[in-house]
Amino acid sequence: MSLLSIREMETNIGQYAVLHDVTFDVPEGGVFVLLGRNGAGKTTTLRSIMGLWQPSPGSVTFEGRDITGLVTADIARLGIAYVPENMGIFGGLTVEENLVLATAKGKFDPTRLRRIQDLFPALEKFWTKQAWSLSGGQKQMLSVARAIVEPRALILVDEPTKGLAPSIVAAMDEAFREIAQTATILLVEQNFNFARSLGRDMAVIDDGRIVYRSTMKEFAANTDLLGQLLGLSA
Protein backbone atom coordinates (compact mmCIF):
# COMPACT_ATOMS: atom_id res chain seq x y z
CA MET A 1 0.00 0.00 0.00
CA SER A 2 1.19 3.51 -0.74
CA LEU A 3 2.07 5.80 2.12
CA LEU A 4 0.57 8.80 0.32
CA SER A 5 -1.98 8.74 -2.50
CA ILE A 6 -2.99 11.82 -4.42
CA ARG A 7 -6.00 11.54 -6.67
CA GLU A 8 -7.27 14.06 -9.23
CA MET A 9 -5.98 16.95 -7.17
CA GLU A 10 -6.78 20.41 -8.51
CA THR A 11 -5.64 23.55 -6.75
CA ASN A 12 -6.60 27.10 -7.56
CA ILE A 13 -4.68 30.08 -6.25
CA GLY A 14 -6.96 33.05 -6.55
CA GLN A 15 -8.37 32.96 -10.04
CA TYR A 16 -5.54 30.81 -11.41
CA ALA A 17 -5.85 27.04 -11.74
CA VAL A 18 -2.34 25.80 -10.88
CA LEU A 19 -2.82 22.04 -10.54
CA HIS A 20 -5.01 20.00 -12.89
CA ASP A 21 -5.89 16.41 -12.13
CA VAL A 22 -2.65 15.56 -10.30
CA THR A 23 -2.53 11.85 -9.46
CA PHE A 24 0.39 9.87 -8.07
CA ASP A 25 1.36 7.51 -5.23
CA VAL A 26 4.32 7.77 -2.90
CA PRO A 27 5.40 4.30 -1.73
CA GLU A 28 6.59 3.81 1.84
CA GLY A 29 10.34 4.17 2.44
CA GLY A 30 13.10 5.85 0.48
CA VAL A 31 13.03 9.07 -1.49
CA PHE A 32 10.31 9.85 -4.03
CA VAL A 33 11.28 12.74 -6.29
CA LEU A 34 8.89 15.14 -7.96
CA LEU A 35 10.67 16.84 -10.83
CA GLY A 36 9.59 19.65 -13.11
CA ARG A 37 10.57 22.95 -14.60
CA ASN A 38 10.08 26.32 -12.87
CA GLY A 39 6.42 27.08 -12.31
CA ALA A 40 5.30 23.53 -13.17
CA GLY A 41 3.38 23.15 -9.88
CA LYS A 42 5.87 21.29 -7.64
CA THR A 43 5.65 23.65 -4.68
CA THR A 44 1.89 23.94 -5.05
CA THR A 45 1.63 20.15 -4.88
CA LEU A 46 3.57 20.03 -1.59
CA ARG A 47 1.59 22.94 -0.13
CA SER A 48 -1.68 21.29 -1.14
CA ILE A 49 -0.67 18.04 0.56
CA MET A 50 0.21 20.03 3.67
CA GLY A 51 -3.16 21.82 3.65
CA LEU A 52 -1.58 25.24 3.16
CA TRP A 53 -3.65 25.49 0.00
CA GLN A 54 -6.84 23.49 -0.19
CA PRO A 55 -7.21 21.24 -3.24
CA SER A 56 -10.66 21.29 -4.74
CA PRO A 57 -11.63 18.86 -6.05
CA GLY A 58 -9.34 15.89 -5.44
CA SER A 59 -8.23 13.79 -2.51
CA VAL A 60 -5.10 13.17 -0.45
CA THR A 61 -4.82 9.91 1.47
CA PHE A 62 -2.07 9.37 4.03
CA GLU A 63 -1.53 5.95 5.64
CA GLY A 64 -4.96 4.96 4.35
CA ARG A 65 -6.70 7.96 5.92
CA ASP A 66 -8.35 10.69 3.86
CA ILE A 67 -6.69 13.94 4.95
CA THR A 68 -8.32 16.17 2.33
CA GLY A 69 -9.71 19.30 3.96
CA LEU A 70 -7.87 18.85 7.26
CA VAL A 71 -6.18 21.97 8.62
CA THR A 72 -2.40 22.13 8.36
CA ALA A 73 -1.82 21.60 12.08
CA ASP A 74 -3.82 18.36 12.08
CA ILE A 75 -1.98 17.11 8.98
CA ALA A 76 1.35 17.82 10.67
CA ARG A 77 0.26 15.96 13.80
CA LEU A 78 -0.47 12.87 11.75
CA GLY A 79 3.25 12.64 11.07
CA ILE A 80 3.96 14.79 8.02
CA ALA A 81 6.79 17.31 8.24
CA TYR A 82 7.38 20.15 5.80
CA VAL A 83 10.66 21.78 4.79
CA PRO A 84 9.62 24.73 2.63
CA GLU A 85 11.61 26.27 -0.19
CA ASN A 86 12.34 29.39 1.89
CA MET A 87 13.35 27.11 4.80
CA GLY A 88 10.77 28.70 7.11
CA ILE A 89 13.11 29.09 10.04
CA PHE A 90 12.30 31.56 12.80
CA GLY A 91 15.16 34.07 12.61
CA GLY A 92 14.49 35.71 15.97
CA LEU A 93 14.60 32.37 17.79
CA THR A 94 17.81 30.55 18.65
CA VAL A 95 18.76 27.29 16.95
CA GLU A 96 17.71 25.44 20.10
CA GLU A 97 14.35 27.27 20.25
CA ASN A 98 13.66 26.51 16.58
CA LEU A 99 14.16 22.83 17.29
CA VAL A 100 12.41 22.66 20.64
CA LEU A 101 9.35 24.27 19.07
CA ALA A 102 9.09 21.30 16.72
CA THR A 103 9.09 18.77 19.57
CA ALA A 104 5.73 17.42 20.66
CA LYS A 105 6.14 18.14 24.38
CA GLY A 106 8.79 20.83 24.45
CA LYS A 107 11.57 18.39 25.34
CA PHE A 108 14.17 16.68 23.18
CA ASP A 109 14.42 12.93 22.85
CA PRO A 110 18.17 12.52 23.63
CA THR A 111 18.64 9.86 20.95
CA ARG A 112 17.06 11.98 18.21
CA LEU A 113 18.97 15.04 19.35
CA ARG A 114 22.25 13.11 19.18
CA ARG A 115 21.31 11.98 15.67
CA ILE A 116 20.65 15.58 14.59
CA GLN A 117 23.94 16.72 16.07
CA ASP A 118 25.75 13.91 14.25
CA LEU A 119 24.06 14.77 10.95
CA PHE A 120 24.54 18.52 11.28
CA PRO A 121 27.48 19.28 13.61
CA ALA A 122 27.34 22.99 12.69
CA LEU A 123 24.03 23.37 14.51
CA GLU A 124 25.54 22.36 17.84
CA LYS A 125 28.19 25.05 17.42
CA PHE A 126 25.55 27.76 16.94
CA TRP A 127 23.07 26.27 19.43
CA THR A 128 22.35 29.50 21.31
CA LYS A 129 22.70 31.88 18.35
CA GLN A 130 19.67 33.48 16.74
CA ALA A 131 18.84 31.68 13.52
CA TRP A 132 18.99 34.82 11.34
CA SER A 133 22.74 34.91 11.93
CA LEU A 134 23.30 31.47 10.33
CA SER A 135 24.60 31.00 6.79
CA GLY A 136 22.24 29.78 4.06
CA GLY A 137 23.52 26.21 4.37
CA GLN A 138 23.18 26.22 8.15
CA LYS A 139 19.64 27.54 7.86
CA GLN A 140 18.80 24.68 5.51
CA MET A 141 20.34 22.20 7.97
CA LEU A 142 18.21 23.69 10.74
CA SER A 143 15.09 23.46 8.60
CA VAL A 144 15.74 19.77 7.86
CA ALA A 145 16.73 19.07 11.47
CA ARG A 146 13.44 20.56 12.63
CA ALA A 147 11.58 18.11 10.40
CA ILE A 148 13.24 15.10 12.05
CA VAL A 149 13.33 16.19 15.68
CA GLU A 150 10.20 14.07 16.18
CA PRO A 151 9.46 10.76 14.44
CA ARG A 152 7.73 11.49 11.10
CA ALA A 153 6.42 9.03 8.57
CA LEU A 154 6.66 11.48 5.66
CA ILE A 155 8.85 14.51 5.10
CA LEU A 156 8.00 16.94 2.30
CA VAL A 157 11.14 18.75 1.18
CA ASP A 158 11.05 21.64 -1.29
CA GLU A 159 14.25 22.37 -3.21
CA PRO A 160 16.74 21.87 -0.37
CA THR A 161 19.84 22.51 -2.49
CA LYS A 162 18.75 25.83 -3.95
CA GLY A 163 21.57 28.34 -3.69
CA LEU A 164 23.81 26.10 -1.59
CA ALA A 165 27.55 25.55 -2.04
CA PRO A 166 28.59 22.12 -3.43
CA SER A 167 30.07 21.04 -0.09
CA ILE A 168 26.75 21.73 1.67
CA VAL A 169 24.85 19.92 -1.09
CA ALA A 170 27.06 16.88 -0.47
CA ALA A 171 26.31 17.07 3.26
CA MET A 172 22.60 17.30 2.49
CA ASP A 173 22.83 14.25 0.23
CA GLU A 174 24.38 12.26 3.04
CA ALA A 175 21.81 13.52 5.55
CA PHE A 176 18.84 12.61 3.33
CA ARG A 177 20.22 9.11 2.77
CA GLU A 178 20.37 8.61 6.52
CA ILE A 179 16.91 10.15 7.11
CA ALA A 180 15.36 8.00 4.36
CA GLN A 181 16.22 4.88 6.34
CA THR A 182 13.54 5.72 8.91
CA ALA A 183 11.14 8.01 7.03
CA THR A 184 9.77 8.49 3.56
CA ILE A 185 10.88 11.66 1.79
CA LEU A 186 8.89 13.39 -0.94
CA LEU A 187 11.52 15.59 -2.52
CA VAL A 188 10.90 18.43 -4.94
CA GLU A 189 14.13 19.31 -6.67
CA GLN A 190 15.50 21.06 -9.73
CA ASN A 191 19.06 19.86 -9.23
CA PHE A 192 18.75 16.67 -11.26
CA ASN A 193 22.07 15.15 -10.19
CA PHE A 194 21.09 15.51 -6.54
CA ALA A 195 17.63 14.08 -7.24
CA ARG A 196 19.01 11.19 -9.27
CA SER A 197 21.50 10.23 -6.58
CA LEU A 198 18.77 10.02 -3.92
CA GLY A 199 15.56 9.09 -5.72
CA ARG A 200 14.12 5.60 -6.00
CA ASP A 201 10.79 6.49 -7.61
CA MET A 202 9.86 9.67 -9.37
CA ALA A 203 7.25 11.67 -11.24
CA VAL A 204 7.47 14.67 -13.51
CA ILE A 205 4.97 17.49 -13.28
CA ASP A 206 4.48 19.94 -16.12
CA ASP A 207 1.98 22.78 -16.33
CA GLY A 208 0.15 21.45 -13.26
CA ARG A 209 -0.19 17.88 -14.57
CA ILE A 210 1.73 14.70 -13.82
CA VAL A 211 3.16 13.78 -17.20
CA TYR A 212 5.48 10.92 -16.34
CA ARG A 213 5.98 8.33 -13.58
CA SER A 214 8.61 5.64 -13.21
CA THR A 215 11.66 4.60 -11.25
CA MET A 216 14.50 7.10 -11.17
CA LYS A 217 16.86 4.58 -12.74
CA GLU A 218 14.59 4.16 -15.74
CA PHE A 219 14.03 7.89 -16.19
CA ALA A 220 17.71 8.82 -15.84
CA ALA A 221 18.59 6.31 -18.56
CA ASN A 222 16.18 7.87 -21.07
CA THR A 223 18.03 10.89 -22.44
CA ASP A 224 15.22 11.76 -24.83
CA LEU A 225 12.77 12.10 -21.98
CA LEU A 226 15.25 14.09 -19.89
CA GLY A 227 15.52 16.58 -22.70
CA GLN A 228 11.83 16.64 -23.48
CA LEU A 229 10.52 16.96 -19.90
CA LEU A 230 13.27 18.80 -18.07
CA GLY A 231 15.25 20.46 -20.86
CA LEU A 232 18.39 18.53 -19.89
CA SER A 233 20.93 17.55 -22.52
CA ALA A 234 22.79 14.26 -22.33
Binding site: G91, G92, E97
Partner: protein, 330 residues
Protein backbone atom coordinates in the same frame (compact mmCIF):
# COMPACT_ATOMS: atom_id res chain seq x y z
CA UNK B 1 29.81 54.58 9.81
CA UNK B 2 29.70 50.81 10.33
CA UNK B 3 32.36 51.09 13.04
CA UNK B 4 30.33 53.77 14.84
CA UNK B 5 27.23 51.59 14.58
CA UNK B 6 29.12 48.54 15.94
CA UNK B 7 30.56 50.54 18.83
CA UNK B 8 27.14 51.94 19.73
CA UNK B 9 25.70 48.45 19.40
CA UNK B 10 28.14 47.14 21.99
CA UNK B 11 26.98 49.79 24.47
CA UNK B 12 23.28 49.13 23.95
CA UNK B 13 22.53 50.52 20.47
CA UNK B 14 19.09 52.01 20.10
CA UNK B 15 18.39 51.28 23.78
CA UNK B 16 20.59 54.29 24.50
CA UNK B 17 18.17 56.67 22.78
CA UNK B 18 16.15 57.52 25.94
CA UNK B 19 19.44 58.15 27.77
CA UNK B 20 20.64 60.41 24.97
CA UNK B 21 17.28 62.19 24.94
CA UNK B 22 17.43 62.71 28.70
CA UNK B 23 21.03 63.94 28.46
CA UNK B 24 20.22 66.43 25.72
CA UNK B 25 17.18 67.76 27.54
CA UNK B 26 19.23 68.12 30.75
CA UNK B 27 21.47 70.57 28.91
CA UNK B 28 18.55 72.43 27.32
CA UNK B 29 16.40 72.62 30.46
CA UNK B 30 19.23 73.77 32.72
CA UNK B 31 17.34 73.39 36.03
CA UNK B 32 18.08 69.91 37.48
CA UNK B 33 14.96 69.80 39.67
CA UNK B 34 12.65 70.53 36.72
CA UNK B 35 14.54 67.99 34.64
CA UNK B 36 14.08 65.24 37.26
CA UNK B 37 10.35 66.01 37.58
CA UNK B 38 9.89 65.94 33.80
CA UNK B 39 11.94 62.76 33.45
CA UNK B 40 9.90 60.93 36.09
CA UNK B 41 6.69 62.18 34.43
CA UNK B 42 7.99 61.04 31.03
CA UNK B 43 8.98 57.61 32.29
CA UNK B 44 5.64 57.00 34.01
CA UNK B 45 3.72 58.26 30.97
CA UNK B 46 5.88 55.97 28.84
CA UNK B 47 5.06 52.98 31.03
CA UNK B 48 1.33 53.65 30.76
CA UNK B 49 1.66 54.01 27.00
CA UNK B 50 3.58 50.72 27.01
CA UNK B 51 0.67 49.01 28.79
CA UNK B 52 -1.76 50.34 26.20
CA UNK B 53 0.45 49.66 23.17
CA UNK B 54 2.09 46.30 23.94
CA UNK B 55 -1.05 44.34 23.11
CA UNK B 56 -1.54 46.24 19.87
CA UNK B 57 2.04 45.49 18.86
CA UNK B 58 1.57 41.77 19.51
CA UNK B 59 -1.73 41.68 17.63
CA UNK B 60 -0.26 43.68 14.76
CA UNK B 61 2.86 41.53 14.57
CA UNK B 62 1.34 38.12 15.23
CA UNK B 63 -2.03 38.37 13.53
CA UNK B 64 -1.28 41.06 10.93
CA UNK B 65 -4.45 42.79 12.06
CA UNK B 66 -4.82 46.58 11.92
CA UNK B 67 -7.05 47.01 14.95
CA UNK B 68 -8.20 50.63 15.13
CA UNK B 69 -10.69 49.50 17.76
CA UNK B 70 -7.86 48.83 20.22
CA UNK B 71 -8.45 52.16 21.93
CA UNK B 72 -11.99 51.07 22.80
CA UNK B 73 -10.40 48.72 25.36
CA UNK B 74 -8.42 51.68 26.74
CA UNK B 75 -11.61 53.74 27.13
CA UNK B 76 -13.63 50.96 28.70
CA UNK B 77 -10.76 50.09 31.04
CA UNK B 78 -10.65 53.71 32.19
CA UNK B 79 -14.40 54.03 32.71
CA UNK B 80 -14.83 50.65 34.41
CA UNK B 81 -11.96 51.34 36.80
CA UNK B 82 -13.40 54.81 37.53
CA UNK B 83 -16.82 53.28 38.23
CA UNK B 84 -15.43 50.62 40.56
CA UNK B 85 -13.34 53.22 42.41
CA UNK B 86 -16.39 55.49 42.76
CA UNK B 87 -18.52 52.58 44.00
CA UNK B 88 -15.86 51.73 46.57
CA UNK B 89 -15.50 55.35 47.64
CA UNK B 90 -16.06 54.36 51.26
CA UNK B 91 -13.00 52.10 51.15
CA UNK B 92 -10.93 54.86 49.53
CA UNK B 93 -12.01 57.43 52.12
CA UNK B 94 -11.27 55.17 55.08
CA UNK B 95 -7.95 55.47 56.89
CA UNK B 96 -7.09 51.87 56.07
CA UNK B 97 -4.37 51.49 53.44
CA UNK B 98 -5.47 47.89 53.07
CA UNK B 99 -9.03 48.84 52.10
CA UNK B 100 -7.82 51.57 49.72
CA UNK B 101 -5.39 49.10 48.13
CA UNK B 102 -8.19 46.55 47.80
CA UNK B 103 -10.36 49.15 46.05
CA UNK B 104 -7.56 49.98 43.63
CA UNK B 105 -6.80 46.29 43.06
CA UNK B 106 -10.46 45.52 42.36
CA UNK B 107 -10.72 48.46 39.95
CA UNK B 108 -7.67 47.25 38.01
CA UNK B 109 -8.89 43.65 38.07
CA UNK B 110 -12.33 44.71 36.80
CA UNK B 111 -10.66 46.52 33.89
CA UNK B 112 -8.48 43.47 33.12
CA UNK B 113 -11.47 41.09 33.32
CA UNK B 114 -13.43 43.32 30.96
CA UNK B 115 -10.46 43.45 28.58
CA UNK B 116 -10.19 39.65 28.50
CA UNK B 117 -13.92 39.13 27.87
CA UNK B 118 -14.20 41.96 25.35
CA UNK B 119 -11.04 40.73 23.59
CA UNK B 120 -12.58 37.27 23.18
CA UNK B 121 -15.78 38.76 21.78
CA UNK B 122 -13.96 41.23 19.53
CA UNK B 123 -11.61 38.62 18.05
CA UNK B 124 -14.35 36.06 17.47
CA UNK B 125 -17.08 38.33 16.11
CA UNK B 126 -15.31 41.30 14.52
CA UNK B 127 -11.74 40.38 13.65
CA UNK B 128 -11.96 36.74 12.53
CA UNK B 129 -14.13 37.39 9.45
CA UNK B 130 -11.63 39.94 8.13
CA UNK B 131 -8.26 38.20 8.54
CA UNK B 132 -5.88 38.97 5.65
CA UNK B 133 -7.99 41.90 4.46
CA UNK B 134 -6.50 45.15 5.73
CA UNK B 135 -9.03 47.48 4.16
CA UNK B 136 -11.97 45.69 5.74
CA UNK B 137 -10.04 45.47 9.02
CA UNK B 138 -9.62 49.24 9.12
CA UNK B 139 -13.26 49.85 8.26
CA UNK B 140 -14.75 47.35 10.68
CA UNK B 141 -12.47 48.19 13.61
CA UNK B 142 -13.01 51.94 13.11
CA UNK B 143 -16.73 51.18 13.13
CA UNK B 144 -16.34 49.16 16.32
CA UNK B 145 -14.47 52.07 17.92
CA UNK B 146 -17.30 54.47 17.06
CA UNK B 147 -19.90 52.04 18.43
CA UNK B 148 -17.83 51.63 21.60
CA UNK B 149 -17.64 55.39 22.11
CA UNK B 150 -21.41 55.61 21.69
CA UNK B 151 -21.90 52.84 24.26
CA UNK B 152 -19.69 54.75 26.70
CA UNK B 153 -21.71 57.91 26.01
CA UNK B 154 -24.95 56.02 26.61
CA UNK B 155 -23.76 54.37 29.83
CA UNK B 156 -21.62 57.08 31.44
CA UNK B 157 -22.90 60.22 29.68
CA UNK B 158 -20.93 62.90 27.90
CA UNK B 159 -19.71 64.87 30.90
CA UNK B 160 -16.19 64.40 32.20
CA UNK B 161 -15.95 61.91 35.06
CA UNK B 162 -13.68 62.45 38.04
CA UNK B 163 -11.53 59.48 38.92
CA UNK B 164 -10.80 59.14 42.64
CA UNK B 165 -7.33 57.98 43.67
CA UNK B 166 -6.39 56.05 46.81
CA UNK B 167 -5.03 58.53 49.38
CA UNK B 168 -1.69 56.71 49.59
CA UNK B 169 -1.07 57.47 45.91
CA UNK B 170 -1.92 61.19 46.27
CA UNK B 171 0.71 63.84 46.76
CA UNK B 172 4.40 63.87 46.04
CA UNK B 173 7.72 63.01 47.56
CA UNK B 174 9.84 66.12 47.99
CA UNK B 175 13.55 65.45 47.80
CA UNK B 176 15.43 68.75 48.00
CA UNK B 177 14.08 70.90 45.16
CA UNK B 178 12.68 67.87 43.36
CA UNK B 179 9.03 66.90 43.51
CA UNK B 180 8.10 63.35 42.46
CA UNK B 181 4.41 62.46 42.20
CA UNK B 182 3.70 59.17 43.98
CA UNK B 183 1.12 58.04 41.40
CA UNK B 184 3.72 58.37 38.66
CA UNK B 185 6.15 56.18 40.54
CA UNK B 186 3.37 53.62 41.03
CA UNK B 187 2.51 53.73 37.30
CA UNK B 188 6.17 53.24 36.42
CA UNK B 189 6.54 50.31 38.82
CA UNK B 190 3.37 48.62 37.54
CA UNK B 191 4.43 49.06 33.90
CA UNK B 192 7.90 47.70 34.71
CA UNK B 193 6.30 44.70 36.44
CA UNK B 194 4.11 43.99 33.43
CA UNK B 195 7.12 44.30 31.12
CA UNK B 196 9.09 41.78 33.19
CA UNK B 197 6.06 39.46 33.23
CA UNK B 198 5.66 39.69 29.47
CA UNK B 199 9.35 39.05 28.88
CA UNK B 200 9.18 35.97 31.10
CA UNK B 201 6.08 34.79 29.26
CA UNK B 202 7.67 35.30 25.85
CA UNK B 203 11.12 33.94 26.67
CA UNK B 204 10.54 31.25 29.27
CA UNK B 205 7.31 29.54 28.21
CA UNK B 206 6.23 27.42 25.27
CA UNK B 207 3.30 29.76 24.61
CA UNK B 208 5.75 32.65 24.44
CA UNK B 209 7.96 30.73 22.04
CA UNK B 210 4.93 30.09 19.84
CA UNK B 211 3.95 33.77 19.89
CA UNK B 212 7.48 34.84 18.92
CA UNK B 213 7.55 32.24 16.15
CA UNK B 214 4.04 33.18 15.00
CA UNK B 215 5.03 36.85 14.65
CA UNK B 216 7.69 35.73 12.16
CA UNK B 217 5.96 32.99 10.20
CA UNK B 218 2.42 31.93 11.02
CA UNK B 219 2.30 29.34 8.27
CA UNK B 220 5.33 27.50 9.57
CA UNK B 221 3.93 27.42 13.10
CA UNK B 222 0.89 25.64 11.69
CA UNK B 223 3.10 23.29 9.68
CA UNK B 224 4.75 22.29 12.97
CA UNK B 225 1.36 21.14 14.27
CA UNK B 226 0.05 24.15 16.21
CA UNK B 227 -3.36 25.67 15.65
CA UNK B 228 -2.56 29.33 15.21
CA UNK B 229 -6.16 30.46 15.70
CA UNK B 230 -6.05 29.46 19.36
CA UNK B 231 -2.85 31.43 19.74
CA UNK B 232 -4.51 34.41 18.05
CA UNK B 233 -7.41 34.37 20.51
CA UNK B 234 -5.05 34.17 23.49
CA UNK B 235 -2.82 36.97 22.20
CA UNK B 236 -5.79 39.17 21.38
CA UNK B 237 -7.32 38.68 24.84
CA UNK B 238 -3.97 39.44 26.48
CA UNK B 239 -3.53 42.56 24.36
CA UNK B 240 -7.04 43.78 25.14
CA UNK B 241 -6.57 43.18 28.86
CA UNK B 242 -3.29 45.11 28.84
CA UNK B 243 -4.97 48.00 26.99
CA UNK B 244 -7.78 48.06 29.54
CA UNK B 245 -5.21 48.04 32.37
CA UNK B 246 -3.35 50.88 30.66
CA UNK B 247 -6.64 52.79 30.33
CA UNK B 248 -7.39 52.26 34.03
CA UNK B 249 -3.94 53.56 34.99
CA UNK B 250 -4.30 56.50 32.61
CA UNK B 251 -7.64 57.37 34.20
CA UNK B 252 -5.96 57.64 37.60
CA UNK B 253 -3.17 59.71 36.05
CA UNK B 254 -5.52 62.20 34.38
CA UNK B 255 -8.16 62.07 37.19
CA UNK B 256 -10.72 63.44 34.71
CA UNK B 257 -11.85 61.32 31.76
CA UNK B 258 -14.21 61.79 28.81
CA UNK B 259 -15.61 59.35 26.23
CA UNK B 260 -13.11 60.80 23.72
CA UNK B 261 -10.23 59.31 25.70
CA UNK B 262 -9.79 56.26 23.46
CA UNK B 263 -9.76 58.22 20.23
CA UNK B 264 -7.24 60.67 21.68
CA UNK B 265 -4.91 57.89 22.79
CA UNK B 266 -5.18 55.88 19.58
CA UNK B 267 -2.80 57.98 17.53
CA UNK B 268 -0.17 58.04 20.27
CA UNK B 269 -0.46 54.28 20.76
CA UNK B 270 -0.01 53.64 17.03
CA UNK B 271 3.01 55.98 17.00
CA UNK B 272 4.55 53.98 19.87
CA UNK B 273 4.01 50.67 18.04
CA UNK B 274 5.39 51.98 14.75
CA UNK B 275 8.43 53.61 16.38
CA UNK B 276 9.18 50.48 18.40
CA UNK B 277 8.78 47.99 15.56
CA UNK B 278 5.91 45.60 15.01
CA UNK B 279 5.53 42.56 17.22
CA UNK B 280 8.35 43.47 19.57
CA UNK B 281 7.68 43.98 23.28
CA UNK B 282 11.14 45.49 23.87
CA UNK B 283 10.58 47.79 20.90
CA UNK B 284 7.20 48.87 22.26
CA UNK B 285 8.74 49.69 25.64
CA UNK B 286 11.52 51.65 23.96
CA UNK B 287 9.04 53.52 21.74
CA UNK B 288 6.74 54.27 24.68
CA UNK B 289 9.56 55.62 26.86
CA UNK B 290 10.87 57.82 24.03
CA UNK B 291 7.36 59.16 23.27
CA UNK B 292 6.69 59.78 26.99
CA UNK B 293 9.97 61.61 27.55
CA UNK B 294 9.67 63.63 24.32
CA UNK B 295 6.13 64.75 25.16
CA UNK B 296 7.21 66.01 28.58
CA UNK B 297 10.49 67.64 27.54
CA UNK B 298 8.99 69.35 24.47
CA UNK B 299 5.93 70.39 26.50
CA UNK B 300 8.29 72.24 28.84
CA UNK B 301 10.81 73.59 26.34
CA UNK B 302 8.53 74.47 23.41
CA UNK B 303 4.86 74.10 24.43
CA UNK B 304 3.63 75.13 20.97
CA UNK B 305 5.39 72.12 19.47
CA UNK B 306 4.02 69.65 22.03
CA UNK B 307 1.20 68.35 19.84
CA UNK B 308 3.44 67.91 16.80
CA UNK B 309 6.38 66.45 18.69
CA UNK B 310 5.27 62.81 18.47
CA UNK B 311 4.62 63.04 14.74
CA UNK B 312 8.00 64.68 14.13
CA UNK B 313 9.63 61.99 16.27
CA UNK B 314 7.93 59.21 14.31
CA UNK B 315 8.94 60.72 10.96
CA UNK B 316 12.55 61.11 12.07
CA UNK B 317 12.79 57.54 13.36
CA UNK B 318 11.10 56.02 10.32
CA UNK B 319 13.45 57.90 7.98
CA UNK B 320 16.36 56.43 9.97
CA UNK B 321 14.87 52.96 10.56
CA UNK B 322 11.86 52.22 8.34
CA UNK B 323 10.95 49.06 10.30
CA UNK B 324 11.11 50.82 13.67
CA UNK B 325 13.77 50.72 16.37
CA UNK B 326 13.54 47.06 17.40
CA UNK B 327 11.28 45.12 15.02
CA UNK B 328 10.60 41.48 15.91
CA UNK B 329 11.59 40.30 12.43
CA UNK B 330 15.11 41.00 11.23
Amino acid sequence: MDNLSDTLGRFGGVNLLPVALAGLSFVLIGAPSSWVTLTVAGLSMGMMLFLMASGLSLVFGLMDVLNFGHSAFISFGAFIAATVLAALGGWLDSDSVLLASAALGLALLAAIAFGLAAGLFFETVIIRPVYRDHLRQILITMGALIVSEQIILAVWGGSPITVPRPPFLEGAWIIGDVSIEIYRVFAFALGAGVFVGLMLLLNRTRIGLLIRAGVENREMVEALGFKINRLFIGAFMLGSALAALGGAMWAGYETLITPALGGEMMIVVFIVVIIGGLGSIQGTLLGAIIVGLTANYVGYLAPKLALASNMILMMAILMWRPSGLRPAIK
